[in-house]
Symmetry: C2
Subunit: 468 residues, 2 copies
């Protein structure tokens, strides 16, 4: 939420809460951490009218996902620009713009629409990720037009004055102080991301470096807005109790008149070089009560992997660390009792090479070194022993089932489509996802284990203050 008044729950990228299917509704969604990529429910076609895609003459892509269970609609605009598209030296500008997009237009001064949505019983929110920025409202279906009118208006007519920009920059700086700089866990995560990426901008924080946020001004914001907030750079997702053709006609009415920029923005994304060393990032702080170990591995994303590679990593993440029946949890927490929590997670929805996270919290008396050694040995063991067919089948079935259950949330469903499409996937990719997961073989999962080689990983140690 850009206004900053009601801080939404902050998703922790490197430390997901067991399931990978929580919807990404925080202001700073790292990567698409909380979304299973391209995950269309297998039975979508059976239970609902099909998903419809269209494109306006100005380049705006439209996807309508019918969902007739309740008379509500989710209206989302996804811009194909996130923090990794921040110009050099201007980290944080994508997120800053997300804030500024709530500052109003001539016809819709600040607060007018927020109050209207609230009066109509709806919700609105926005979030900035590595690869995209998204705005959404969830509201009774008869109010879809008013959402479109407003969203189209601020795509083109945002008013940015110094009176608005400077104070909002202070809001962002305060947000950074509160959420990042006062939290050792966040400081460590930021340094771990920086260590994973020496060249690619995923290493820069979504909220930006403090000293760069401080320099962002009206000109920066306006130039950024002009270049990135254009119809050909956006995807409109409408999920809910609508007739697709009528929804597209409505979209044409409101979004159609916006002139295109002429070309989509260039995304400058240097490829990250292959890691060749082990890197350990350590932070000791008196505010830390619970030590924590994490390791982060550079891996292909759904977009950059060879066929089947991302799917194998997805299954591997689930087998290794998805919930309380995972290998890490059963081994470290239940059997060996050396950890109070343990898990793993693949952040597959990303335009570029992405991250696979492993984490664990030790029981008192167990060091992070011991945890790291045990987890490394466990992963090395899997490389030689492999997985049983039964375990693999169970994992794939549960992974796909969880994706299907998650579609019960219209917002989650819309998020899947938006995040997938904004990172280079197609509707066909989304539709085929369950089949692609089912097709993953044990050999592919074992092969994917090579990405978890600890000699090429970035480890993070969060520790209480050292004894003086």
């Amino acid at each position: 939420m850009a206004s900053g008044s009601s801080p939404s729950s902050s998703a922790s990228p490197s430390f997901p809460s067991g399931s990978s299917l929580t919807p990404g509704a925080s202001s700073l969604t790292p990567g698409a951490s909380s979304l299973t990529p391209g995950a269309a429910p297998k039975d979508a076609a059976a239970s609902d009218t099909p998903v419809v895609q269209a494109r306006l003459d100005n380049g705006l892509e439209i996807v309508v996902i019918p969902d007739h269970r309740a008379p509500v609609v989710t209206h989302m605009i996804w811009y194909r620009n996130g923090s990794a598209d921040d110009p050099v030296g201007k980290s944080g500008i994508a997120h800053f713009l997300e804030h500024l997009m709530f500052k109003g237009t001539r016809d819709n001064p600040q607060g007018k629409f927020t109050n209207l949505v609230s009066d109509l019983g709806g919700q609105e929110n926005a979030f900035t990720s590595n690869d995209y920025t998204a705005y959404f409202q969830r509201i009774a279906k008869e109010h879809l037009a008013v959402c479109m009118e407003y969203e189209a208006d601020r795509m083109k007519n945002l008013v940015l004055t110094d009176e608005v920009v400077a104070p909002e920059r202070d809001v962002v700086l305060e947000e950074r102080r509160m959420r990042t700089d006062s939290d050792p866990s966040e400081i460590l995560d930021e340094a771990v991301q920086a260590a994973v990426y020496s060249s690619h901008p995923y290493g820069h924080p979504i909220i930006g470096w403090n000293h760069e946020i401080e320099t962002l001004d009206r000109t920066d914001a306006f130039n950024y807005y002009e270049r990135f907030y254009t119809p050909e750079n956006a995807i409109l997702i409408i999920a809910g109790d609508v007739d697709p053709e009528a929804a597209i006609d409505l979209a044409r009415k409101f979004y159609g008149p916006i002139p295109p920029f002429g070309a989509p923005p260039v995304r400058v994304r240097p490829r990250e070089p292959e890691p060749k060393t082990h890197r350990l990032v350590t932070l000791s702080d008196e505010k830390v009560e619970q030590p924590r170990y994490q390791s982060v591995h550079l891996v292909p994303s759904y977009r950059t992997g060879t066929p089947g590679e991302a799917e194998a990593l997805e299954v591997l993440g689930f087998l290794l660390g998805g919930g309380q029946s995972s290998l890490l949890f059963t081994t470290l927490v239940m059997d060996e009792k050396i950890a109070v929590a343990a898990g793993a997670y693949y952040m597959g929805t990303a335009l570029d090479d992405t991250r696979f996270f492993v984490y664990a919290i030790p029981v008192p008396g167990v060091s992070l070194e011991q945890l790291e050694h045990r987890i490394t040995a466990l992963i090395e063991g899997l490389t030689t022993e492999g997985f049983s067919e039964a375990a693999l089948t169970r994992a794939k079935t549960r992974l796909v089932a969880e994706a299907i259950y998650a579609r019960d949330s219209q917002t989650t469903l819309a998020n899947w489509y938006g995040a997938s499409l904004a990172t280079g996937m197609t509707l066909a990719d989304i539709a085929a996802w369950p089949d692609r997961i089912e097709a993953v073989t044990a050999a592919q999962v074992v092969d994917a284990l090579r990405y978890l080689d600890n000699r090429k990983a970035v480890a993070g140690y969060l520790l209480p203050a050292e004894a003086a």
Copy 2:
């Protein structure tokens, strides 16, 4: 040397050979690692005619350093662009251009000038650093004009065809394979630099990432050449047995006709955020015979530091690790006998925030962890105990004396001026350097120790292959 046929001695940035005063004559000079910045001999004015500075109408800066001891002259052109100015995704292009600058012009086909210099008993070389690229010849003084004629010719008329560019790219890739990718020590150093810089381009290797070098083509090279190889981006240094006014007239004749570009290039240099964590980069490899510990600290440069700060770091580097009378050497090698080598080094000549290196090689049976703990404790001890006035005075005197001795080498002298001017210093800064060093107080040196806080450092562990 760009031709690649005679590999010049490779300076190791993070592991200087005790003295900081070796001239930087390798093709890849990291930062200005081997140059004491702004170091004009204190008695320059007394022993020689003064240094003369001029600027041509096209923007070319000229510095003449008279040195009449022998009838030779050193002729250097310094371009104010190094690897840290490589465009995003095109790492290595500054160094690649250094190679291509030997490919000849219409009037001076490849090899013609190299052979001529050789026939005349001279030497030529070139090197690429983080902040600059330099070309030089050392030759009998009567041949100064021919060097100028040639250097001016290739500033403007370089011929770049696919036939020349593609094979030379293979030469660079082979250079990378030989010097970096087959040497665990270099691989580690590259990863350590990347860990030090998460945002600033000093984290990218001078030679470039392999996958980016592979993509450099004629268009990249030509665009880069057009933008950076201009008179207003260059500094001409002439050191030797010349009359300054005559040398400047000669320079006007040869360099004067080159049209200016119109504006100097913009150097995109985002400031590195303050480090907040300890980062340890580890590489184990069967090719490693001698384990090595290093730690690298982000520090201000002569250009970015507050008054006196860089000078204090320079003195600190010398006190801590400059040669066999330094604290690290006497403590670890001579007294405690836990290391066979130990030293420290401040790389002060840099446009942006730079690096302070500490290193040690353990005796058999001592681990790198033990060395790191001992060095950390030694540095913490200095923070409370400080330095004796006697030790400080001795260090400052020796540091300045070494700079004066080093001027016996005309090339070293010319390199000082070139590197200092190319990183934002002035002739006045250079002239005042000995006095500024002499003025450093014990309190300033102790204050500079805060930059060596191990909790904010990047450590590098080079280790033999692990037992299977």
